[in-house]
């Protein structure tokens, strides 16, 4: 009964989306607008119905209703409750329902809260929103019905991929989806503003919180996903340049560029066409991301819910939305007036540099990700992997960091480098010293890690400079947000450079009682014993890690899951302030002499990568909070703050 109610709610919600589209369009066409009073209520209803449908599905997973196909094929009666619930979105249909639900609730929120743009633009935005939602409803109802019944109902269910049975699943996909959905809202705003010729600061201020929120979620989603892969896959890698990872990175890159350009538009009324363009690209990238992930068209280590036919459906949706949007863009761009002028050396110039470098990185990642498809179409089966992406993107990232050292210190419109020459000299000195010290400490380190460390040290100082000369208590929160996010970049890049330049690895085989050494740590395998979990059994190694008289116990496991049958390794991580000791126990060694294969890594400052990611998201959250707070108090005036 619950399943049927959920399905009915989805159909009704689709009808509401249609009403939203038609009502908004008639108003735009200058009609009598009899349907117009229905647009906002339709948005509220759509949000409520979709939320209901999602919670209905969650309920079905909660009670493990095996007469529902989706539950039967993705859950199991013996699964721990948290994974039963998280299993709601750990599969294709459920994750699409989550997407649609978040999108509809956001649409309702726009209808309810957005009061600062012209009513006409708001209705146009809601119409576009309804149009996008319709496509996704069609996809859900015709190609991936989450509420389909299964007759007869099985007794226990097929289970969930063991790699996914982790707290990461509870957080990772929803955060990424919130990000994607936020970008779809930005897209709706952009097309709405194009349709009503309202591309200006008011539109930018209305769109900005959505871009910012989307960007925060994407940042958290990517950082969390990276850490999850790092400890779950058991080989200590944290970024593989895998198609699915790239699929989440590309919208993030576009959103980061958009976030900066929308601030320029909101404050200085410049970069108009460029901001609209980025909003379209950002949404296209999130759809492309979903397509790449869901279609399985590219081989990926993270591909868990793959179906080529559905991929084709999403591809069709993406092509339809983006081509319509770009046609509107092409038709209307002539009417978007040129923004305010500025010079090369200016805050705007710095943000243009940021946008250029981010777009170049985005283009390289996109080409590298799709290249194997193109080559295959021409009859060549080739792979494009980490060696290419690192060589092609890292130099641009380093340039981006260089721009980040200077940009935030510049004034709007026009500035002179001479004005900040002492800061520039200071920055160059830190760069040089940092690079030299790192090179002296570890000769033979690659160029990229060296430059990464030097630049991140300089940025760790430079990030705080926008606060100089300000009364801290009276500084707007968004400035703090910017400073913290930029400092987070320095922290994260430092972690990446340190990990890729200075990691140590020991691969060995140990019998209980034997030990191995790595980076000053002595690791003794003291015991190996079997352990039983809810739906797995494991071999657990007990290791004693010793350094400078401090001793720690580590318990890596090699797990064997039953439903479905699968082997995974659960690494043991020992976190110190300056890095992590990463230990894995694998199979018994081949000679049958009672030894176990053991892999050990010392990864200096590796945790900084995700800690920095957290700071970046925190900076965004502070900025968003400050903005909402200020907006609640008084209407915004045309004064600049960073996004």
């Amino acid at each position: 009964m619950i399943a049927e109610a959920g399905l009915a709610a989805l159909w009704l919600a689709a009808a509401m989306a249609l009403l939203q589209l038609v009502g908004g369009l008639t108003l735009l066409r200058g009609g009598a607008g009899q349907l117009a009073p229905l647009v906002k209520p339709a948005a509220y209803m759509q949000g409520a119905l979709c939320a209901f449908a999602f919670f209905a599905l969650m309920w079905l997973f909660y009670v493990t209703d095996l007469s529902v196909l989706l539950v039967a094929s993705n859950s199991h009666i013996d699964k721990p409750m948290i994974f039963k619930l998280a299993g709601t979105w750990g599969n294709h249909e459920g994750s699409m329902l989550l997407w649609v639900a978040v999108m509809s609730v956001s649409g309702a929120a726009i209808a309810l809260l957005e009061k600062r743009i012209e009513a006409k633009t708001l209705y146009a935005t809601l119409a576009v929103q309804g149009f996008i939602a319709l496509g996704f409803f069609a996809f859900l109802l015709f190609a991936s019905n989450p509420f389909e019944r299964l007759v007869p109902a099985p007794l226990e269910g097929a289970g969930l991929n063991p790699l996914l049975q982790d707290v990461g699943l509870a957080f990772h996909p929803p955060t990424l989806y919130m990000g994607y959905v936020g970008l779809s809202i930005a897209f709706s705003f952009a097309v709405g503003a194009l349709l009503t010729n309202q591309v200006g600061p008011a539109f930018a201020r209305a769109m900005r919180p959505w871009v910012l929120a989307a960007w925060i979620f994407l940042t958290i989603g990517i950082a969390a996903g990276s850490y999850w892969a790092y400890y779950e896959l058991g080989w200590g890698g944290w970024w593989f340049w895998d198609p699915v990872e790239n699929a989440s990175l590309m919208p993030w890159l576009a959103a980061t560029a958009l976030l900066h350009s929308v601030s320029v538009l909101a404050t200085r009324n410049a970069l108009r066409a460029w901001t609209i363009m980025l909003a379209l690209v950002a949404f296209a990238m999130s759809m492309a991301g979903t397509f790449l992930v869901r279609s399985g068209i590219l081989t990926s280590v993270h591909a868990f819910a793959v179906d080529p036919e559905r991929g084709a459906f999403i591809l069709a949706l993406m092509l339809m939305y983006t081509s319509i949007a770009f046609v509107i863009f092409a038709l209307r761009i002539g009417t978007v007036k040129q923004g305010e002028p500025f010079q090369l050396v200016s805050r705007e110039g710095g943000i243009v540099a940021n946008n250029i470098f981010l777009s170049v990185i985005l283009a390289i990642v996109l080409i590298g990700t799709l290249y194997p498809l193109a080559a295959e179409a021409m009859g060549d089966k080739i792979s494009v992997g980490p060696p290419y992406f690192n060589k092609a993107t890292v130099p641009v990232m380093l340039l981006l960091m260089l721009a980040l050292l200077i940009g935030p210190m510049l004034r709007w419109r026009r500035d002179a480098l001479m004005r900040i020459k002492y800061w520039l000299i200071g920055g160059a000195a830190i760069l040089l010293c940092g690079g030299l010290v790192a090179w002296r400490l570890a000769p033979g380190t690659g160029l990229f890690p060296l430059l990464g460390i030097a630049l991140s040290l300089a940025l760790a100082v430079a990030a705080w400079l926008p606060l100089r000369g300000r009364k801290l208590l009276r500084t707007p929160l968004p400035i703090f947000g910017m400073v913290i996010a930029h400092f987070g970049i320095a922290v994260s890049v430092f972690g990446m450079a340190a990990e890729s330049g200075f990691s140590k690895e020991t691969l060995t085989a140990l019998a209980p009682g034997e030990s191995a050494e790595i980076s000053g740590w002595k690791v003794r395998l003291s015991d190996v014993k079997p352990v039983v979990g809810d739906n797995w059994v494991a071999v657990e190694g007990e290791m004693l890690a010793n350094k400078n008289g401090n001793s720690f116990v580590m318990r890596p496991q090699s797990r064997h899951f039953f439903k479905p049958e699968m082997q995974t390794s659960e690494a043991a991580l020992l976190t110190r302030w300056n890095g992590q000791l990463y230990a894995v126990i694998a199979q018994p060694d081949q000679e049958g002499d009672g030894r176990w294969q053991v892999r050990l890594w010392w990864k200096p400052f590796v945790t900084f990568i995700w800690f920095g990611g957290g700071l970046i998201a925190l900076g965004g959250a502070i900025s968003l909070f400050g903005r909402m707070f200020r907006r609640a108090r008084k209407p915004a005036i045309n004064k600049w703050e960073p996004a």
Partner: protein, 133 residues
């Protein structure tokens, strides 16, 4: 007590689970010379485990990846150049195995693309400033 049976089975399982016989010695053991090992590691990170889903042979537990790791370490130890080993792998498994396409043939455009994009972007931006100052 019942739960122990699968554990006991499992402890014995790896002995015949691989099917392709025992794992080659160098699959999960480092070379004695750190320089050679570093060279081998770099190469292993740029070779695809063709049995897996997009992992390099340096970070996979698959039997195929183990065989290939052992092969790389053996050849490095025997003094082979990484580039020759890569060619050897490509001869055996096709271009698909290399994560780093050659700067020729179908891979040429891929390596030129970043430069093209970069200069196109700078050129576009120059137009932006010239118009506006």
């Amino acid at each position: 007590m019942r739960a122990w049976v699968p554990i006991l089975l499992m402890l014995a399982a790896p002995a015949f689970a691989q099917g392709s016989g025992p794992t080659p010695a160098l699959a999960n053991r480092q070379l004695a010379d750190p320089a050679q090992e570093a060279e081998a590691m770099r190469l292993m990170h740029s070779l695809r485990c063709i049995q897996c889903q997009g992992q390099s042979i340096a970070d996979s537990d698959a039997a195929m990846a183990e065989t290939m790791r052992a092969e790389v370490r053996q050849q490095i130890a025997a003094g082979q150049k990484p580039q020759d080993i890569r060619s050897w792998m490509i001869d055996r498994y096709g271009e698909w195995v290399s994560f780093e396409p050659d700067i020729k043939g179908s891979g040429l455009l891929l390596w030129i693309a970043p430069f093209l994009i970069f200069f196109a972007a700078i050129w576009l931006a120059r137009g932006l400033f010239r118009r506006r100052t």
